[in-house]
């Protein structure tokens, strides 16, 4: 699931794109006019160019369409028709339907309601809301991608980018003591920062690349974790340490990213406070690095980059929702991780509903309870 613009609702147009097994659903929220229509056009063209068989345009929450919007829709229909594909319009409002009638929408398939997608196990509205909840639960902050930083040769840059940014955001939010995080990857024997949480970590990485010293350089080269408690007492990197201190950095932990047994980069986390990272924090950092490594290892599949990138965002969201629900059950029932997973799975099997939906329910009920205490704990019990 991908939402444009990614700063959430509030703009005049929001597009939510969901990739289903047989088709892609683009949900339009807000107004489609001369200012916003080009954005929809770009998205529809992108989908058409990437060979998606069937595209559904969901207009249920589209308040207004002007001639520019209609033109974009008509052009997209024509574009897809050239290669024997279709654009289906779903749930246009009365006004929009009349406008379409006026401009002649012969050949358009009009659908009513999202039942078909529900059957495929996806509810647009709910997926989005849970995404927001999960994001809030992990205190995700804004993370900037570093434009122009090249990714390793055969790895699909666009697909990796979103996933690594998510890993960086999670690492910064969840590793105790972290003030910032970044991911460095090596290409043609040179390291580059491909995702960073702030400018300080960017500067720190650059200092390491320039001096050829530091925990990131060593972790990416030697394939094991490097940690410094306090740069004041650090003797391993004499050229780099004073530069990092000048940036206000005191402690750093760099965990290697490993693809097919080869170190390819590092997840770097820094703190302004000395001794900020406990051994548990360092282990957590390694877990995130393993997550990023899994992402990097899995990218080299023969799927188009756009759908790949969307899929990764969706898959990471699913993993996060499941992990959070697992944590809730562990705390609530004093059980371990495996038992919590088994409880989720058992419920999924008994009700024939996807495991992720069960996890979403648990988080949603937690959210409701937080909003209206003191409710009974019944609603999150099996």
């Amino acid at each position: 699931m991908v939402t444009w613009p990614d700063n959430g609702p509030g703009g005049r147009l929001t597009l939510v794109v969901a990739f289903l097994p047989a088709r892609v659903v683009v949900a339009v929220r807000g107004e489609l006019d001369s200012l916003t229509a080009p954005e929809l056009g770009a998205v529809l063209n992108g989908l058409a160019d990437r060979g998606h068989r069937s595209v559904v345009l969901d207009l249920a929450q589209c308040d207004f369409v002007d001639p520019a919007g209609l033109r974009v829709i008509a052009e997209s229909i024509a574009h897809l028709a050239l290669s024997g594909r279709t654009l289906e319009l779903r749930s246009p409002s009365g006004v929009v339907r009349r406008l379409l009638d006026l401009v002649g929408s012969a050949g358009l398939a009009l659908l009513d309601g999202p039942e078909a997608d529900r059957a495929a196990g996806l509810d647009l509205q709910r997926s989005v809301d849970v995404g927001r909840l999960a994001a809030a639960a992990t205190r995700l902050g804004p993370v900037t991608a570093v434009a122009g930083a090249p990714l390793p040769g055969s790895i699909d840059g666009e697909a990796v980018d979103a996933s690594l940014r998510l890993v960086v955001a999670l690492a910064r939010a969840l590793v105790g003591g972290a003030d910032g995080a970044s991911v460095s990857l090596r290409r043609h024997d040179r390291l580059a920062t491909v995702a960073a949480s702030d400018e300080t970590v960017l500067a720190m990485d650059a200092d390491q690349y320039a001096t050829g010293q530091g925990p990131c350089v060593d972790a990416s080269t030697l394939g094991r974790r490097f940690h410094t408690d306090s740069l004041n007492d650090e003797t391993r990197w004499p050229a780099f340490a004073p530069k990092a201190q000048a940036l206000g950095i005191n402690a750093i932990v760099s965990s290697p990213l490993v693809v097919r047994d080869q170190p390819v980069g590092a997840l770097n986390i820094y703190s302004r406070t000395a001794d900020a990272f406990t051994s548990q924090d360092q282990d957590l950092a390694s877990l995130f690095a393993a997550e990023a490594s899994t992402v990097l290892s899995g990218v080299e599949l023969s799927v188009g980059s756009a759908s790949r990138s969307v899929w990764f965002a969706e898959a990471l969201e699913g993993r996060q929702v499941i992990a959070l629900a697992q944590g809730v059950l562990m705390e609530r029932d004093s059980i371990d991780e495996t038992e919590a997973y088994r409880a989720l799975r058992r419920f999924s099997t008994q009700t024939s509903r996807p495991l992720r939906e069960r996890a979403e329910d648990i988080l949603a009920s937690l959210h409701r309870r937080a909003a209206a205490p003191p409710a009974s704990s019944e609603d999150i019990h099996e």
Binding site: E291, Y341, R345, S352
Partner: protein
Amino acid sequence: MSEETLDLLDRARVNAGLSPDELWMRYFELGGMSTALQVDAFLHGALVPTIHDHDLLAHALNERFVELGGNHPVPYLEDRHVA
């Protein structure tokens, strides 16, 4: 883990109409930590998955069978160990 157990996973994958990559994608969404190559190796018996990994793959397949209107034909090893 017996060879039959792993054979069953791969047969179920074929019956579910999933490519090894598609199965891996579903497994990954459920929280699986093995790479696509490793999952392929599990299916072909070149690597032996942990019980947890096996059950994640089983569940990914079972969710697919439910989508297709079926039930949960692939057994879980964890349940067997607990029982």
